[in-house]
């Protein structure tokens, strides 16, 4: 029987990535307040701590004795060449500023936390945990006269880290990338599949 992955993420991009590689998943809620994390940490550690913090705040379903589940949380952020972290833009002006700041190059990193949990005596207990963080460098070079067209073509830009969407219309501005492509979108698929195999997640086809 195939295992089921519980994904605690609202990101439609992450859901689309899992669908793309045919990993069955069920959505879960999490109520983590990311501001409670230590934002003074180095970039990759910060992301790992947020992914772990989200895991601690996942609202799990009631289980059956000895039931095993797999739960996934993740966090993605970008930074420019000066090390300034860019999350989701607050408004259109902020989106414009982010696109310009990231034009010279930037990086996006995604950390994920993958837990194997077992239900024992009325509680979910952690059996195994894998945390990984992957960083990708890229050049997303959009000339000024294209920005307005891009924002019109990508109406959900306010929900994307750095306002940069490389999957649709924006792909024509992605000049180069160095590292993992799916990390930019929100989940490093290669490392995730490796981790799922390592932790005993079974997919039957």
């Amino acid at each position: 029987m195939s295992s089921i992955l519980f994904l605690a993420s609202k990101s439609p991009q992450r859901q689309a990535l899992l669908q793309e590689i045919q990993i069955p998943f069920v959505l879960l809620e999490q109520d983590a307040n990311e501001h409670a994390c230590d934002w003074g940490l180095p970039f990759m550690q910060l992301l790992e701590s947020i992914a772990t913090y989200k895991m601690d705040h996942v609202i799990l379903p009631v289980g059956k004795q000895d039931e095993t589940i797999f739960v996934l949380t993740a966090d993605t952020m970008g930074q420019d060449l000066h090390g300034t972290i860019h999350g989701k833009p607050r408004n259109k002006e902020d989106a414009l500023a982010k696109i310009k700041a990231l034009r010279a190059g930037g990086s996006v990193a995604t950390a994920f936390c993958l837990d194997k949990k077992i239900y024992n005596n009325g509680n979910w207990q952690l059996q195994q945990r894998i945390i990984r963080c992957v960083e990708t460098f890229y050049t997303f070079d959009m000339p000024d006269h294209w920005i307005e067209r891009y924002l019109n073509a990508e109406p959900h830009y306010l929900h994307i880290s750095g306002a940069i969407d490389v999957t649709g219309y924006g792909q024509q501005f992605l000049k180069t990338l160095h590292g993992s492509y799916s990390t930019i979108i929100g989940l490093p698929l290669f490392e995730l599949r490796q981790s799922l195999e390592e932790i005993g997640f079974i997919i039957q086809r």
């Binding site: 793309e20 070079d141 792909q171």
Partner: protein, 201 residues
């Protein structure tokens, strides 16, 4: 924007890339025999020569005096670490061999030829041409247990080097160094720039 791009390519991924970028296009036929090109050339020159050869073999529609058209051809090839050129796999066994050799890494190169043509004196003449080569190195690792399923559930048998990085194959793409869309068959960043240079938009 009233200009139309004529795309002379059978590749589904090239069409999808143009659709994503919202660049309107119409498909054209070309009957180039790639085997006529000089396969002894290095990867960049070889794919450039194939893209040009394809352009030369296009069956152009009838024009109107003074009419302008933009025509695009492209070619993509993969080269393994030993320098062996990998086209589309000829059969399953060939695909197994390719996937095995590219585990160490591969270089994917796409060249495109973009012509701005004008119809004058009853024939199409080249007004301006852009030829560009763009490449990317990639590490694409399909584990043994997944190879058969991957070949049956992707367009790998129609892809250079049996590499498909979208859809099911996305999980086997470990890393890229270079242009993502060049691996898919059309370097969108450079194509858009070339179209701008020729005043397409």
């Amino acid at each position: 924007m009233n200009n139309i791009l004529l795309l002379a390519s059978q590749s589904i991924s090239r069409r999808l890339l143009l659709v994503k970028a919202q660049i309107p296009f119409v498909l054209l036929d070309q009957d180039a025999n790639e085997a006529e090109c000089d396969w002894g050339l290095p990867l960049p020159q070889l794919v450039e020569s194939i893209a040009k050869h394809k352009m030369a073999q296009i069956i152009m529609p009838q024009g109107i005096e003074g009419q302008h058209l933009f025509v695009l051809t492209a070619d993509t090839l993969t080269q393994d670490k030993k320098g062996t050129m990998l086209g589309k796999p000829s059969n399953k066994q060939h695909a197994y061999t390719m996937l095995n050799t590219i585990r160490q890494g591969a270089q994917v190169g796409t060249a495109f030829c973009l012509d701005k043509k004008v119809y004058r004196f009853d024939r199409w003449q080249i007004e301006e041409r852009v030829i560009e080569y763009v490449q990317a190195e990639c590490v694409f690792v399909v584990p043994d247990w997944a190879v058969d399923y991957y070949l049956e559930n992707s367009l790998a048998m129609k892809a250079s080097g049996a590499i498909t990085i979208e859809g099911f194959g996305a999980q086997f793409l470990k890393s890229i160094n270079g242009s993502y869309s060049a691996i898919m068959g059309l370097p969108l960043y450079e194509v858009r720039k070339a179209l701008e240079k020729l005043n397409f938009f």
